[in-house]
């Protein structure tokens, strides 16, 4: 209640001052909000009342830290009420930032709502003294020393010493996940099939190449980032999974586009485990105040920008994120949404000069040069929370971050599918977005390929993935949850229903640019084009024309290296690039050329 009022006062003040928070300007705020002082003081009174009520409940301690923030917030409100015309420069203390009254109240509420109780053991006793709840200093020290020495014998980091018939698996995840994975394998997989599995951490993908050189690579790897396997497949150290008869039983659970980066020539060299989605996040309270609807297409966004910007607010696009490198994750969705392509289907050449692609590149630079989106945002979370970017595109992580780190805003924001374009006017808005995630792979030189395939099949099956997400949520907490790429599993997973339906809807539009020999140069040059146009104010077509020769040269150099068709070598082997139109050729058995 009080929080809503604070938030609306803050928005009113910002409308009056135009976001100018310099304290050298004298505003006559009281002329516009005459009852400001009374309102602030009444909120402070109410907060102190609540504080006293809670304090009486807890007889043991007076002034517990959890609720004392209410008192601090009340004091802050009174201090602002003393000098109401300066509120414009005091918004940090009032409604924005981590020490503001708004935030302090929100923190107190979330503390009071969740009071966790954990029980180590229960004593049933009569007439004897209870042991102390905490150990003595020396006891703690001794346990610490023991723990330190035990860590040398931790088998999770030790990838040697496995006997012949044990399946050796590396996992590109932290210990927390590894413990869950290993125990699930031991309890289910080994029990059912009799195949022993030893999982250990792969802390660095470089390890794969090095271990392959000395021929002691594992049999399979789980949870490797899905842009990595291509380089290994290209050089022949991975097993082609389509050679297993029941490949399609597994692949039918996924949107085919999730396989794109795992495809090389005729083979598919991995099974997607997780996926990522981009979602459009928006602040309900602010859009309501500005009387704006949630945008559905890029046109809607462009139309609402003047209103946002006249209130010193803005829209966030990840192209204006912290990194100066604008990778495929940010550039490819716009190209696809405008009907562009990044590679041509046959042979290896760039299609950046195609009409639709040029239009898309022009749009993604116009967003920043004409429509004035922020060029570099260090933390969208902070801007979204404080409300000066009430609208923006981000990953699923922001959902969890907002849910846990910004409890004061609960119910004030929501996520929907990202905006797109309706190219063919059929009423369906195309919302392509990349779904980079993790994948499982098997090595060609493994002598237990069948067993490894069984493991990967089992691991990515719907029931196991559901159980895995369940275990993560109960064992590690919701904050550690990931999105399974297996759509059936995701549908029945433990994610909150509200966000799950949005994610399922967005996941339909998964589309990842293919990896080809030398494809990194296209990604890099796209980033350079964006940088030249937006920062150096170069013309779009000139920037593209500067980049295309570089792309063509590197692509044909790499094609020559592996003997594919290129400018210098017209008789080379043809290379087929997997794309949205032809992806089923690899993934579905009944594909008709």
């Amino acid at each position: 209640m009080i929080m809503d009022n604070i938030s609306s006062i803050s928005l009113m003040v910002k409308t009056i001052t135009g976001g100018n928070n310099s304290d050298t300007v004298d505003w006559d705020i009281l002329k516009y909000i005459p009852d400001l002082v009374e309102r602030l003081n009444s909120y402070a009174d109410r907060l102190e009342e609540i504080y006293d009520e809670i304090d009486e409940m807890d007889t043991g301690v007076s002034g517990a830290g959890e609720t004392s923030t209410l008192n601090v917030a009340a004091k802050q409100l009174r201090r602002i009420a003393k000098n109401p015309n300066k509120i414009g420069s005091k918004l940090q203390e009032f409604s924005e930032g981590s020490g503001s009254a708004y935030q302090l109240i929100g923190n107190a509420i979330s503390y009071m709502m969740q009071q966790p109780l954990s029980i180590d053991c229960i004593y049933v006793y009569q007439d004897q003294d209870l042991p102390k709840a905490t150990g003595s200093f020396f006891r703690k020290l001794w346990d610490g020393i023991k723990g330190f020495f035990y860590s040398f014998f931790d088998t999770r980091y030790n990838d040697n010493d496995v006997d012949e018939d044990t399946l050796e698996v590396w996992v590109g995840q932290s210990t927390l996940y590894l413990d869950i994975i290993q125990s699930m394998i031991d309890q289910d997989f080994t029990k059912d099939t009799g195949i022993k599995v030893k999982a250990s951490i792969m802390n660095n993908v470089q390890k794969i190449v090095l271990s392959n050189a000395t021929d002691d690579n594992p049999d399979a790897v789980l949870a490797i980032d899905n842009w990595n396997p291509y380089a290994y497949a290209l050089r022949g150290i991975l097993a082609d999974l389509t050679e297993f008869d029941d490949f399609e039983e597994v692949s039918e659970n996924y949107y085919a586009n999730n396989f794109t980066p795992l495809i090389f020539e005729d083979g598919v060299y991995g099974i997607p485990e997780t996926q990522s989605v981009f979602l459009l996040y928006y602040r309900k309270d602010i859009l309501d105040y500005l009387d704006l609807d949630v945008p559905d297409t890029w046109e809607d966004i462009i139309n609402m920008l003047p209103i946002l910007q006249s209130h010193q607010m803005n829209f966030y696009h990840p192209l204006g994120g912290e990194s100066s490198f604008k990778g495929y994750g940010f550039t490819s969705p716009i190209i696809y949404q405008f009907g562009g392509e990044i590679y041509s289907e046959f042979g290896i050449e760039s299609t950046l000069r195609d009409e639709n692609t040029i239009k898309a590149i022009k749009f993604m630079t116009d967003l920043f040069t004409i429509y004035n989106l922020p060029l570099q945002v260090s933390s969208f979370f902070e801007h979204f929370r404080s409300g000066d970017m009430p609208l923006g595109i981000s990953t699923i992580d922001l959902y969890l971050q907002m849910k846990y780190a910004a409890p004061e805003l609960s119910g004030q924001w929501d996520a929907v599918v990202i905006p797109g374009n309706d190219l063919d006017d059929d009423g369906i808005v195309e919302r392509w977005s990349p779904s980079y995630g993790k994948a499982s792979i098997i090595f060609e030189n493994s002598d237990q390929k069948e067993d490894a395939w069984k493991l990967i099949k089992w691991w990515n099956s719907t029931e196991v993935q559901i159980e895995y997400m369940q275990n993560i949520k109960t064992g590690l907490g919701e904050k550690y949850l990931m999105l399974s790429a297996n759509m059936d599993a995701l549908k029945q997973s433990v994610w909150d229903e509200s966000i799950k339906s949005v994610v399922m809807e967005q996941a339909k539009w998964a589309r990842i640019p293919a990896v080809t020999p030398g494809s990194y140069v296209v990604e890099r040059e796209l980033s350079n084009i964006w940088n030249k146009v937006v920062i150096d104010k170069e013309n779009v077509l000139i920037a593209i024309n500067e980049s295309v020769p570089k792309i063509v040269r590197e692509l044909s150099r790499k094609a020559d290296e592996f003997g594919y068709v290129s400018v210098n070598n017209p008789d080379g082997r043809p290379y087929y690039v997997p794309m949205n139109e032809n992806i089923d050729r690899w993934i579905r058995e009944d594909y008709d050329e």
Partner: protein, 303 residues
């Protein structure tokens, strides 16, 4: 007589053996492997193929990124940070030598720490300072003071990245060479100064040029060599600052960055080795230059 003399020589070799073994395994052997690999095509997975001089030919005739960005940027960076950091190191060491012991210790740690922790501080201080966000320190300050109306893209503008790199490089350039010079200055015999004043020396400037610098020549040489090797081997600074790999329009792209890119992103180890051999040559040239500038006569025999 003859026999015992030979025995002495053998003993000496024995004493040198541990050093020689370590030097051979960790320096000589690696250089030899690198030179051998530079004549091959090696994708780090399959066995290397011998390709003769192709890597070198391609490096100098085909690789525009190397000739246009990596090589000139590295030389520019080395020529500014090398002497610049060297002069700052000397000045700081000399200034520190003038203050009292306790203050000196504290200040020396403060000046030395950036070169140790630059990776961490890069993220904590410089990225936040030069952030293109309106809330980046520098932008926020300039906006508040009214110098600019919209945030400057310090770390996205390819024209500014190199300048910022130089700034951060100078800030973190007071490394081992600085410590060596400091201890060198502190060890100069005070009598020398007194004698010189008796002989008619008039100012502190003369003191620096006639006594201090000649007395710490060995440390000066060490500092120069460290500066040369350090600046040529620098890598990844532009990427760390901009959070981009590769940095926008290859601004601040150094030879070692280019080498890592070919070795680890493009899996062309043979080509990367060729680049490392070229880099070794460049470093050696600059090493001889610094030896001839600062070395004593006996040092020149190394040539």
């Amino acid at each position: 007589m003859n026999k015992s003399k030979r025995k002495k020589v053998n003993d000496a070799y024995l004493f040198a053996l541990p050093y020689f073994l370590v030097f051979f395994t960790f320096v000589i052997a690696l250089i030899v492997i690198s030179v051998v690999l530079s004549f091959t095509y090696y994708d780090t997975i399959n066995f290397p193929d011998f390709v003769g001089l192709r890597n070198y030919v391609n490096l100098f005739t085909q690789d525009t990124d190397f000739m246009q960005y990596a090589l000139p940027t590295t030389i520019k960076y080395a020529l500014i940070i090398g002497p610049g950091g060297y002069i700052i190191s000397f000045l700081m060491a000399w200034l520190l030598a003038q203050v009292s012991y306790k203050l000196r210790t504290v200040l020396a740690i403060i000046l030395y720490s950036p070169s140790l922790t630059s990776g961490v501080l890069m993220a904590v201080i410089w990225k936040v300072t030069f952030s293109g966000d309106t809330r980046g320190y520098l932008n926020y300050f300039l906006l508040q003071m009214g110098f600019i109306n919209e945030p400057v893209q310090w770390l996205q503008d390819s024209n500014m990245i190199f300048g910022i790199m130089i700034f951060v490089g100078l800030w973190s350039s007071m490394s081992v060479g600085f410590l060596a010079m400091l201890s060198g200055i502190l060890n100069i015999d005070k009598d020398l100064y007194e004698a010189a004043y008796v002989d008619g020396m008039k100012s502190r400037w003369q003191e620096i040029f006639y006594i201090t610098i000649p007395s710490i020549k060995p440390q000066m040489l060490f500092g120069a060599v460290m500066a040369v090797v350090g600046t040529f081997n620098a890598a990844g600074m532009a990427s760390a600052l901009t959070g981009a790999y590769p940095p926008p329009q290859l601004a601040g792209w150094l030879i070692v960055d280019h080498m890592n890119d070919f070795g680890f992103s493009r899996y062309e180890m043979g080509y990367a080795s060729a680049m490392s051999v070229v880099l070794l040559m460049i470093v050696m040239i600059f090493y001889y230059v610094s030896v001839s500038l600062f070395g004593e006569k006996k040092d020149k025999r190394i040539r």
